[in-house]
Amino acid sequence: MARVLVLLFAAAALHAAGPARKVFPFPYRQADLSNGLRLITIPTDYPNIVALYIVVQAGSRNEVEPGKTGFAHLFEHMMFRGTAKYPPAKYEAVLKAAGAASNAYTTDDHTAYHTTFSKEDLETILQVEADRFQNLKYPEPAFRTESLAVLGEYNKNSAAPTMKLFEVLRDTAFDRHTYKHTTMGFLKDIQDMPGQYQYSLQFFDRYYRPEYTTLIVSGDVDPARVLALVEKYWGQWQRGSYRPRIPAEPAQTAPRSGHVDWPVPTLPWVIVAYKGPAYTDTAIDSAALDLLGAVAFSENSDLYQKLVIEEQKADIFGPDNPDRLDPYLFSIEARVKKASDLDAVRDAILKTVDRFRTNPVSRERLEAVKSNLRYSFALRMDNSETIASTVARYVALRRTPETINRIYDMYAKVTPDDILQAARKYLAADGRTIVTLTGAARAAQAGGKAQ
């Protein structure tokens, strides 16, 4: 019997005195099995449905060997290739009979496997999932076939110019860190995947281990029963020993730029990106940059109003500051309606960055942004699956839903001066990368028809 450490976290009562109510409103239980597996159970009021998210803290960031990009994502595919006890057809039959919706996704930092189903199938689902995480077994021909499905995924994504735009942005902005490549990986590595069966086994052996894995179960469940079932089916899983050495990115010392010539007509894009901090819920940096992005570049900002609503030069515009384990990019992205306005839009972004490095934001604007963040979060908590999927994103960073409360407490604390300091620290020209994309002229493809 595994020794289990159980922690209970109750959300502060709605009208309790003292600290403001926590943004994550559900009481949850967090339990650690002795093999290192963590279980987070979140009972909700939504009837009948249970959502299971299995978060493995391995993503494309973990792809440290040259020529092996895209493997975390390939592995997401391989996990559906069965075990001795449940070959793919049998596994599918179990999910089918349970009426389950099941899928998976991969990001830079983690891979998540998720299944949503009716509560009466809880034991069955926990059992088949435990089996594939511990006993995955696929022959080389199945591996070679699945690697082609990954190429198919690359193909279906490749119609969108933004995929290429982000490939070039990462490749330009990073020199050594694995954030240099996208989660899909480089096309040449994807084409080489069918020959990498042995490496795939090694990848599984390294990362598909309890100490890398967190189970999130939310919905119409009894936490004690969930824990008993998880101990029964997941308790025997063996801990691993591998620790990856992710190369640190050297400090950028000069502005960089890149460009994509898209072969067919499309609207131009410009991305202005800066090296940002790693996710943190203990220092103010991540929170200050999130708020800066919203104040300066969201639909509530003066610049959005000018470019999208008044001058109508851009039709897509906004900031992006994704939470990552290691320092990543804070960026401002714009799709521009006319190629002749591309430079003007870029310059307007740069001018705005300068303004926020010089002048503090107004308190009123800052409060509006804080309110937006709190209500955006509350509006997402409307069903068990979204609750689990939201927690999964944070669990990938800190392995506990408590980080949600910590980062939102941090948002509440951010002052105009914090934002000014964050802008000065991170939005400097030396850490900047600008990438543009322009399409072929429309007339070139029109077959003589005037546009």
């Binding site: 939504y46 009948n48 449905i49 599918e92 039959a93 999910l95 089918k96 009979a97 349970a98 009426g99 919706a101 099941s102 899928n103 949503t116 189903f117 009716s118 080389e140 021909p141 591996f143 070679r144 076939t145 690697s147 082609l148 499905a149 198919g152 995924e153 193909n155 279906k156 490749s158 119609a159 110019p161 069918p194 067919v264 609207l267 639909e299 509530n300 109003q305 609503i309 008044e310 109508q312 039709d315 309606k337 409060e367 509006a368 942004v369 309110s371 937006n372 963040l373 709190r374 209500y375 509350a378 509006l379 409307d382 699956e385 399409g439 429309r442 493809q445 029109a446 077959g447 028809k449």
Partner: protein, 488 residues
Amino acid sequence: MRLALLLFLAAGLSAQERVVTLPGRSPLVTFRIVFQAGSAADPAGQAGLAHLTAAMLSEGGTRDLTYKQILETLYPMAVSVSSQVDKEMTTFSAETHVDNLEAFYKLFRSMLLDPGWREDDFKRVRDDTVNFLRVSLRGNNDEELGKEVLYNVLYAGHPYGRHNAGEVSALERITLEDVRRFYREHYCRANLILGLAGGYSPAFLEKVKSDFQKLPAGRRTQVRLPSPPGFKGLRMTVVEKDTRSVAYSMGFPIEVTRGHPDYPALLLAMSYFGQHRSSGGLLYNSIREARGLNYGDYSYIEYFPRGMFQFEPDPNLARSRQIFQIWIRPVEPATAHFTLRLALYELDRLVREGIPEDAFERTRSFVSKHVNLLTRTKRAELGYAIDSLFYGIPDYNSYVKKAVAGLTREEVNRAIRRHLNPGRLQIVAVAKDAEGLKRTIVSNAPSPMTYNSPKPKEILEEDKRVEKFPIPLSAADVTIVPVDRVFE
């Protein structure tokens, strides 16, 4: 299911008011305001008018506030108002925390009932619509492009025959005055369905009902929807575009909609043949799982836009007419001929052999539980309840559960044979070398497969049949369309 469907026929309300409510204890309140008029009501030469009208309300100012002021007001509440235009329905939806209910509703009401009709808003939403058609759909998404072109092909000359967002040349001609006229004509109480869910009070509901009395009574929008043009045999349209791979969509109109007696049987058959974004469907297993030809393969009996981004369909796309459709995700050009044959082979086999007994039981279990997932948010539950009103069926969950519980395998197979006729398929491909694809397919020459790994004997034997599977298309049956002509 706690569905309270209230039909108010009298009591001071002049027109027949339709209100769908799902009260609850949630701290969120969901609105779905539906008008039963959509793109099928676009006048001749004005494709996109319904879309622009809805966009002017959801993305434009009110009489008192500019759009900029609206965004500023909504921002701290984190609420956005969205509109969706389909052939016969226009839906405005939004969700707010009860903390902000009164303030949000005051604004939302003005957006729908007192629009500002400003020229600069009009220019912006029209640009957005043109860019959606030209850039997002035609340029960036071969799969959605193929699906939408299929509808245009199947409904040529029919009120369903143009994209919901319209056509570029028509959009460029539409004026703000046209939009205002469309609003006056179709945004009336006769077309209105009010949908409200979550933690609102009874008094709030009464206020909403009373406010929407401001709309004119009007007349229900009636668009004649004849049978779509019949196709005698197989046809193919190739959209020529500079792209890496070949995307396919194919299908034909069916008589079955949600209210039809064969709907549950056909729903079960589709789940077996190609449940959306789910591994384990017959098409998926054959094309992707066993052979690795692409990323996924699915089938449908209801309109399902944006399927590459979402796992469940949006509600309030209810239609009087639907099509059967197969979606083959992009394949490498070298295997495009074989993949098309394989899809047709599997459809042919489905029609000939039907669903096996064990798969029937499993799929029945899936369908009856999966409906819980479809309606797991209040937002979706409310949308489905409104659609049930449109189709004249009970609430969707109990309707599907009850109906599939009573089905027999033979009834499903009979429905398949009755409604699915592979000989009527219209095929749409998006490809770079359109001429080459056409030449290859009409040649009907064998298209043998080679794989990068050993395959089981039964797959190789099946391939021998598939590589010669006839596709009865002559050169005259294949039309090539340059992508720049699509949706123009």
